[in-house]
């Protein structure tokens, strides 16, 4: 038996449960209620309500990604500087929270951030506040950053850990001080890790609906919320499929853009 035939079950699975469902949703998106062809479902993304939701999703996702990079990079550097023999500890500490149910964790943030929650209790003791951030985009942003931060720290940490100590010593030897070592060696060499982090954070941050549901107090509609409601409340599956396809195209374009930038960086380096 040839080795490549071992992948047969997987290939069948790919066709049956990855490709065909995507074809199904695309077909559904291109049909109206009577089963005839239409582009209306896909183009409904530019309706004012949907467009606003898309822009808000983009804004949240973009802001969340930027904040995650800014928080994660130093954290990954410190993790690396602890000189742990194994990568295990870092992965352990970052994966473990996922074993407390995700929705419960977001609900916990709702309790922490609410007007009479833990945060305001503490701030009150310090004589500050109270802050009214529950059910606002600030709460939504905190929740989103919270949920996706580990997925930014991990790839960056892996990329930094993979940089050979010798390479850094070589740079020092050639006259690079700590700053130059960071900007000219560590940062460009860890760029691929950052790109995978961005992908792992940006896409789910843009398309999630649960966090907005809980922390937005129903006032903040992301594109994910709108799609969800098309299926669960309005029962307009074709419209929901159309929006899904638009969202997918949008995500793919953003990804392609990120990856292309990455390739360009590789050619020129950051001098």
């Amino acid at each position: 038996m040839k080795r490549k035939y071992l992948s047969a079950p997987y290939l069948i699975w790919v066709v049956g449960f990855i490709l065909l469902p995507l074809v199904t949703i695309a077909v559904s998106a291109l049909m109206d209620k009577n089963g005839s062809f239409t582009l209306e479902n896909i183009l409904s993304i530019i309706d004012p309500i949907n467009r606003q939701a898309l822009l808000l999703s983009l804004g949240i996702a973009f802001g969340c990604t930027v904040i995650c990079v800014l928080l994660a990079y130093p954290a990954a550097m410190v993790l690396k500087s602890l000189h742990l023999d194994k990568k295990g500890f870092a992965i352990f500490i970052l994966i473990l929270p996922m074993w407390m149910n995700f929705i419960l964790r977001i609900l916990a943030w709702q309790m922490i951030l609410s007007n009479n929650g833990v945060l305001n209790l503490l701030l009150g003791k310090l004589g500050i506040g109270p802050l009214h951030i529950s059910n606002s985009w600030v709460a939504l942003m905190i929740g989103t950053v919270y949920d996706f931060l580990p997925f930014m720290i991990l790839p960056i940490f892996n990329a930094i850990s993979d940089i050979d100590e010798d390479t850094i010593e070589a740079a020092r030897d050639l006259g690079a001080g700590s700053k130059a070592v960071f900007w000219k060696v560590i940062l460009p060499l860890s760029a691929p890790g950052m790109v995978s982090g961005v992908i792992m954070v940006f896409v789910p941050a843009m398309t999630s609906f649960v966090i907005a549901d809980i922390l937005g107090g129903g006032k903040l509609q992301l594109i994910g919320n709108i799609i969800e409601q098309e299926f669960t409340k309005s029962m307009n599956w074709h419209a929901g499929s159309g929006l899904s396809i638009s969202l997918m195209i949008f995500v793919l374009v953003s990804l392609a853009f990120t990856m292309k930038n990455d390739l360009k960086d590789k050619g020129t380096t950051v001098w």
Binding site: D164, D166, T167, E169, A170, A171, R172, D173, L174, G175, A176, G177, A180, K184, V185, P188, L189, A191, K266, T269, W271
Partner: protein
Amino acid sequence: MSDMILELNDISKSFDGKKVIEHLNLQVERNEFITLLGPSGCGKSTTLRIIGGFEKPDTGRVIFNGQDITDLAPDKRNLNTVFQKYSLFSHMNVAENIAFGLKLKKKSKAYIQDKIKYALKLVNLEGYEKRDPMSLSGGQQQRIAIARAIVNEPDLLLLDEPLGALDLKLRHDMQRELITIKKEVGITFIYVTHDQEEALTMSDKIVVMNKGIIQQMGTSKSIYDEPRNAFVADFIGESNIIDGIMLADKMVSILGRKVACVDVGFGVNEPVDVVIRPEDLEIKEAGSGYFDGRVLSVLYKGAYYEIKIKTEDYEWVSQNVTAPSVGDMVGLYVLPDNIQIMHKPRSEDAEVTRE
């Protein structure tokens, strides 16, 4: 008065309580090719890293061009290192790698371009500017690493087993090239290797180290011909090293026989190490030498035969252009001039024989 570029004064260093270098003193003259030679773990690489600024010595000072640089960061030292694993920057092409140090020094574009061209020519890689270093062979990568160091015009170039990862043929070519480069640029080289042949062919001066202590320092010839102790004798080329007892000046007892030598000044009945190089051990007819023994094996080595002879208490190695047959009884003789008598080491730490 010679011109010293580097002085190591009483350097000691330990890691996790384990002493790696002990009270090391070393002086390097300008424009010298000096090699630190020793088995792995002898402290030679640590010495190099202390000079490069990557390790701080526990005690002692590093004086470079008359200035104390012990506490200076690596990037502030006007010396460069060629690393064993090349350590090229994988996110830059060859030209960018070479330009790294020069750009940090804010040299002009034209100057940098000239330097890159010159350096690539020097290491025989003209036209490789735009190549990705990771696509090059090990030998080519090491040349780039050398070029990257040399363009900075350091006063001193440190080379940490730079040829260790290359195959034998390439290593020989690179040895020759390194000597040429050294002559061309006129930079002082400090070279670290565990390969005694490499050390003997390339260096002006060899420093043999073991267990963090300098065993002997001198020219290739003096180290080979007059090893100061059994470790050096054993590490530099193959040797017969036998226990002996000094009977009087110019007379030593080996395996119970009186043997004439030229060494004087040892105590009467002092136990000593006797070193006889294989090429100095002459094979004669049985009964006409100092010892008689049976030939154990004969190996043809190209230019000579390597012959193992077993006498009562010792297995001798001899190199000879003619060979007896295996099983023959032969006599062994050595000229007084070719016997090297050495004091036994005083303590275990002062000299440890290679495994």
